[in-house]
């Protein structure tokens, strides 16, 4: 059994690595995205960002003189915990609560926080009010640090779904699967070989991109690489399984392309690749929980930005493992070797 799996695994790897166009694209796309984003966000935005703790989504500028300040971007924050986390990460320069007991939170290590606090106190003093100050500790998280897991995850998603789903459909359409069917190779052996091959390719390419960004962009890594590797493995297996499920019966490359796009685009938009879903409405957050990429990115960011260990990411790993079992099970039951 192992010999048969290795034979298919090796042949698939050779096919991929010798296809220079595909290989280059798999490496160039995430690297180019990272450098492009790094360039775009290399200079800080001119305005300051202040969170206003309130339930309403729009800011009433007449509520306090400080809210009329120029060059400050005021955003509504509904959840105190999330707001404090963003202050700690320098994603908000200040968090203010103009409620019954006015108060504000600032990160003492944030230069921008220092100046915004100064502006707040001046406006507050002019208004004749007295606000309570609290401090929030934490290092800055640059956008490039925040978006790196997203880009790596997106690359894993495309590589898994198109690299497995599309290839299996092509094999089925051109009769290569039928030829394998005529040998002692079993479906489970073929599936294991495909999953292993794609996993190796994903690990190789992701490690390469990760190391490159660490070296050139000094991206943040607060947790353990072993934990991050576990997240990468769990996420990759679940998305490869999803690719196999999509490709289980399809015989047309055009249909496969459409189905794969239908799966990948919502994940890319709603799984938190480019922006945080914290401020999204609950139904969008619930919808995003259906996607494996969401759980993979949550876990990867927890490890890379907050130093989370195995215990903290267990819920996400559990979800990814559960999804893998469901996708693989359905894929195996519905798998078809050749077109009818």
């Amino acid at each position: 059994m192992l010999k048969r799996i290795y034979a298919i695994f090796r042949a698939r790897n050779l096919e991929f690595f010798r296809d220079r166009g595909t290989l280059s694209w798999n490496i160039i796309l995430p690297v180019a995205l990272m450098f492009g984003l790094s360039f775009i966000f290399s200079s800080d935005r001119p305005e300051y960002t202040v969170g206003v703790l309130q339930q309403a989504t729009s800011i009433d500028k007449s509520g306090h003189p400080f809210l009329a300040s120029r060059y400050i971007d005021f955003v509504a924050v509904q959840d105190l915990e999330a707001g404090l986390h963003r202050v700690a990460r320098h994603q908000l320069d200040l968090l203010v609560d103009f409620g019954a007991a006015p108060r504000y939170w600032v990160n003492p290590d944030s230069p921008k926080g220092y100046f915004v606090e100064f502006a707040l106190l001046q406006a507050d003093s002019a208004a004749g009010k007295q606000m309570t100050k609290s401090q929030v500790e934490g290092d800055a998280v640059r956008y490039v640090d925040w978006v790196l897991p997203g880009i790596l995850g997106m690359n894993v998603m495309f590589s898994s779904l198109f690299g497995v789903g599309y290839v299996v459909v092509r094999y089925r359409k051109n009769g290569f699967l039928k030829r394998l069917r005529a040998t002692p190779l079993r479906a489970i052996e073929f599936v294991i070989a495909q999953v292993s091959s794609r996993l190796l390719l994903i690990l190789t390419i992701t490690s390469f991109v990760y190391a490159g960004t660490r070296f050139f962009l000094h991206t943040r890594m607060d947790g353990s690489h072993l934990v991050l590797l576990t997240v990468l493995l769990a996420g990759s297996i679940s998305m490869i399984s999803l690719g196999l499920l999509v490709a289980a019966r399809v015989t047309s490359e055009e249909l496969a392309g459409g189905l794969l796009n239908m799966v990948t685009w919502p994940m890319m938009m709603l799984s938190g690749v480019w922006f945080s879903l914290e401020a999204a409405t609950p139904w969008i957050q619930n919808l995003a929980a259906v996607f494996p990429l969401t759980h993979m990115l949550d876990a990867a960011r927890a490890v890379m930005l907050d130093g989370a260990g195995f215990t903290e990411i267990m819920p996400q790993i559990g979800m990814l493992a559960g999804m893998s079992v469901v996708f693989l099970g359905l894929g195996a039951v519905t798998f078809r070797w050749h077109p009818r």
């Binding site: 042949a11 096919e15 010798r18 002692p184």
Partner: protein, 294 residues
């Protein structure tokens, strides 16, 4: 000689099409068995059911006295009519990969020599000519030292020289004692390679036996062929069975001398005349009413 493979009452029903209609036949060990028929006759479906890649609606396939199963997969070699191979993989790597899928393994050097692939081992599959590709697919079918090989229309699309080279390969395989099951619509190929044939049309077997026996059984006469514009008289005067097709008249006779005298008597130009024995193409035409390559 024992029976290597047996089809028992095979039926394959697709929506609206009965592709295989109660087909039964047995293939003796060590022979080359030909399944003949035009495109759409059901021969590829029949063979794919026997190969185990297409399930039958009903019926059974037996291999050496037992239902075909794991042992059959290990001992059978298959060359499909259309098989894509992986891109960016060389001929040598393709052979090694398929060989690794079997517990039963052929001497790879022998297979490479047998199929004349020695100079192509490092060549990418994408860069093979039609003949080279067919030789590789045959080699892939031989990597497990099969006791039985299926060849589904193996020479379709090959030029005459490549086709003849391929026939030599099949003869060598057969000479080593391997049972060969061949589907083809080339009559010459079947006559040269096959010990036994079954002719299929519309999903059914019409007749079965050795080519020589079938021709003897169906024909006692000789055929005279003439260009139609060379014949000056009235066809009805010949008192023989006459068939007119594509500008040629075919006169079936049991007395060639007498027929030639009659043709000369009506001032027929005999320079382009051919005299031949009936072949499988004639047999098929007589059995079905249409040409094999239609």
């Amino acid at each position: 000689m024992q029976i290597a493979l047996e089809a028992k009452n095979l039926i394959k029903q697709y929506p609206g099409v009965l592709a295989v209609n109660d087909v039964s036949f047995a293939v003796r060990e060590g022979i080359c068995f030909g399944l003949l028929g035009p495109n759409g006759a059901g021969k590829t479906t029949t063979v794919e059911i026997m190969e185990g890649v297409t399930p039958a609606s009903s019926g059974e396939v037996w291999y050496y006295g037992a239902p075909a199963g794991k042992r059959f997969r290990e001992e059978a070699g298959i060359q499909f009519q259309n098989t894509a191979l992986q891109d960016f993989i060389t001929v040598g790597e393709t052979l090694q990969m398929f060989r690794s899928l079997y517990d039963r393994k052929a001497d790879i050097a022998h297979v490479i020599e047998q199929c004349s692939l020695g100079d192509l081992l490092d060549r990418d599959n994408r860069k093979l000519s039609g003949g080279q590709r067919q030789r590789l697919l045959l080699a892939v079918a031989l990597v497990n030292k099969p006791r039985l090989v299926f060849l589904d229309e193996p020479t379709t699309g090959l030029d005459p020289q490549a086709r003849r080279n391929f026939w030599d390969l099949v003869k060598n395989i057969r000479a080593e004692g391997t049972t060969v099951i061949l589907t083809t619509h080339y009559m010459e190929e079947a006559e040269i390679l096959c010990d036994e044939i079954a002719i299929m049309d519309s999903g059914k077997i019409l007749t079965q036996g050795s080519p020589v026996d079938l021709l003897k059984q169906h024909y006692k006469n000789t055929i005279i062929e003439l260009p139609i514009d060379a014949f000056a008289g009235d066809l009805r005067d010949l008192e023989h069975r006459v068939l007119e097709t594509q500008g040629i008249i075919e006169i079936e006779t049991n007395n060639v001398n007498d027929s030639l005298r009659k043709l000369a008597a009506v001032s027929t130009e005999l320079n382009h005349m051919k005299i031949r024995q009936p072949n499988l193409e004639d047999l098929f035409l007589d059995l079905t009413g249409h040409s094999l390559r239609a």
